[in-house]
């Protein structure tokens, strides 16, 4: 390989201008790929963060109550009129065990049992419907970092303290320290004081959510010791669907991932990724054609030298290698410059761009891009290299 590499490098160095031009071409292509991939990754993680920042990746609920129908004896025709059962608020059976099991799953990042149900919030004459959420603050914080969203007061839950949304506080004319009367459908009431007010930025949640202590909520909803929902976050958000499926199968409970509840968002993200990949592929393709065309020209220019090398005992496969190595070297060094350029672009965007979100350049992207560019260089040089290897030395020496 030594002589092939030496010849390849000398050829590249000798054709300085050509080499420099194609290196710039490759660098620009790789920079574009790195920048656009980082941009879209940053944009997507921003969107996902905003969407999933206020909700669990997977929600686990008790299975729906259904009518159990006795199977008809063989040979009979069964006519059935069925009314769907009303879904009353029920606890997840054996939820402590389910939480324990989920805690063990390696793909699961956090698990939070919640007891949740409807109620009315009353202050003076104002009466508004709310959702009660009885939580274990430490566990729940790992799903929705509530403390980050507090706009006044503190996140203090328990012993008659509640945290409510900004819009609800507005509508009821309440501030931190005021009392709030809660009343559930089964006639139980509680008087809680408002310890803090949050703003999640989602209208529905800011208007309805009332966070309470787990125990107090259980008694308000008449579900002593029970929880109605288990919220789960996973480490790899796009694996939520498959993990949710596994959890459903494992526990026999109703398990729904964000990918099912936000199908449209998922669709948008997928199309975005697809278009990024397409742009990258086309850029890579044009870079590949650039390499191939430069090497083709170089082979025409060097026809005679190739002929001499062949006459001196250089084997076809060595000639092939000389040009494959050139492709690899161009791909490698071009992409190294391109990676640097991509970093600079991302930095410029972060420093001087619209500032809506931050683009991180994923560290794995650079070696991946460089590896791919090197392989692309080799593949792109295959066609011209084969032509060089097949050159008839007689023709090459005589007529070049």
């Amino acid at each position: 390989m030594w002589i092939e590499t030496t010849i390849a490098l000398k050829f590249l160095r000798e054709g300085r201008t050509q080499t420099a031009l194609i290196l710039i071409g490759i660098a620009v292509g790789v920079a574009v790929i790195i920048f656009i991939t980082s941009l879209i990754t940053g944009l997507q993680s921003n969107i996902v963060e905003r969407t999933l920042g206020t909700q669990a990746h997977i929600r686990i609920q008790p299975p729906d109550a259904i009518n159990r129908v006795l199977p008809a004896p063989a040979g009979t025709v069964q006519l059935l009129q069925e009314d769907k059962r009303a879904q009353r608020l029920r606890s997840i059976i054996n939820w402590q065990q389910v939480v324990g099991t989920l805690d063990q799953l390696p793909q699961v990042a956090a698990v939070s049992p919640v007891v949740s149900g409807p109620a009315f919030a009353r202050n003076a004459d104002a009466l508004l419907p709310v959702s009660l959420l009885g939580i274990d603050p430490i566990r729940y914080q790992r799903i929705v970092p509530l403390a980050q969203y507090m706009i006044s007061g503190t996140l203090r839950i328990g012993a008659g303290d509640a945290v409510i949304g900004r819009l609800l506080a507005n509508d009821l004319g309440l501030t931190v320290g005021d009392k709030l009367r809660l009343q559930t459908g089964i006639g139980r009431t509680a008087l809680v004081s408002i310890a803090g007010i949050f703003e999640l930025g989602v209208r529905e949640l800011d208007q309805r959510n009332v966070y309470l202590d787990l125990k107090q909520t259980q008694s308000l909803l008449d579900l002593p010791g029970g929880v109605t929902v288990i919220d789960v976050t996973v480490r790899e958000i796009f694996a939520a669907k498959s993990i949710s499926g596994r959890i459903g199968a494992l526990t026999g409970l109703k398990s729904e991932s964000w990918m099912q509840t936000n199908a449209q968002l998922l669709n948008a993200l997928t199309s975005q990724s697809l278009s990024t990949r397409m742009i990258s592929s086309f850029v890579a393709l044009s870079v590949a054609f650039g390499i191939a065309s430069v090497l083709s020209i170089s082979i025409v220019q060097r026809t005679r030298e190739i002929g001499i090398l062949r006459a001196m005992g250089t084997r076809r496969v060595q000639m092939l290698q000389v040009f494959l190595i050139q492709g690899a070297v161009l791909g490698f060094f071009g992409s190294a410059v391109g990676a640097l350029l991509g970093y600079v672009l991302a930095w410029v965007f972060n420093a001087f761009g619209p500032g809506l979100f931050y683009i991180p350049v994923p560290s794995a992207l650079v070696p991946a891009a460089m590896g791919l560019a090197t392989i692309t260089g080799i593949v792109a040089s295959a066609v011209p290299a084969r032509r060089a290897a097949r050159l008839d030395p007689v023709v090459a020496i005589r007529y070049a």
Partner: protein, 250 residues
């Protein structure tokens, strides 16, 4: 490298070459040539343009293969060799000197000289470097080892090319109009070099040339006209015998 005892380097037996075989335009260039060349031969191949000299040179140089007949190089039949074997034999047994020196521009004079060794054996060792430097000195370019071809004159480049042709210690040196674009003085120097290597290394030399003065100074002149050998102004038998004798003595 196995060698026939007679010191025979090259033998052509009823060698024919046609182009466009199987097509209506098929033309035969060489019509059954027989020729033998020994270690000590210093021969010129002459003939008018279009007589098939270059075609024959390409066949002898294993750059091309005959349509029929056989070409023995160092006793080995070569017609049915594949490209790999042909290339390997060419690399080890034949040295080329072309009309237009044909150095590789990206490499220095010494690297050019060593190229035939490097492409077959890889990185040159101390012995190879010494041999290359020695050859450069032999062609009077000992001080020019580090120069690139474009820093050398035409005659100097041709001398580098000759040193390159000899670096593998080939059994046969093929030269195609080696002095074609050199002035008389330089041409004479180059010719003298061929003489010396023929004598010192026992390397058969075959020079293709138009130049009658040049061919007249060769020991043997093979004349090709219309694809046939019309004369072989031979002291061939004598030369072969002398070659065999010399080999026997050493």
């Amino acid at each position: 490298m196995p060698e026939p005892p007679s010191g025979e380097v090259l033998r052509l037996a009823a060698l024919r070459k046609s182009y466009d075989v199987g097509r209506p335009t098929q033309t035969e260039i060489l019509h059954g040539l027989d020729l033998a060349l020994g270690r000590s031969d210093f021969a010129a191949l002459v003939g008018p343009s279009g007589s098939g000299k270059s075609t024959l040179l390409n066949l002898i140089g294993l750059l091309d293969s005959p349509t029929s007949g056989e070409l023995f190089l160092l006793g080995q039949p070569t017609r049915d060799m594949d490209d790999e074997a042909r290339t390997a034999l060419r690399g080890s047994a034949i040295g080329f000197v072309f009309q237009f020196h044909h150095l590789i521009q990206a490499f220095t004079a010494l690297e050019n000289v060593l190229m035939p060794l490097m492409v077959t054996k890889g990185r040159p060792d101390a012995e190879a470097l010494a041999r290359g430097q020695g050859l450069l000195e032999a062609v009077g370019l000992g001080d020019f080892a580090g120069r690139k071809p474009n820093q050398l004159s035409g005659g100097q480049q041709q001398r580098v090319a000759i040193a390159r042709a000899l670096v593998t210690r080939p059994a046969l040196l093929l030269a195609d109009e080696p002095t074609g674009n050199l002035d008389t003085k330089t041409a004479a120097d180059v010719f003298e070099l061929f003489r010396r290597f023929n004598r010192d290394f026992g390397c058969a030399v075959l020079i293709v040339t138009h130049d009658e003065r040049l061919s007249a100074t060769c020991d043997r002149t093979v004349t090709l006209v219309d694809g046939r050998i019309v004369s072989d102004s031979t002291q061939a038998a004598v030369a072969d015998a002398a070659g065999a004798e010399r080999r026997g003595a050493t």
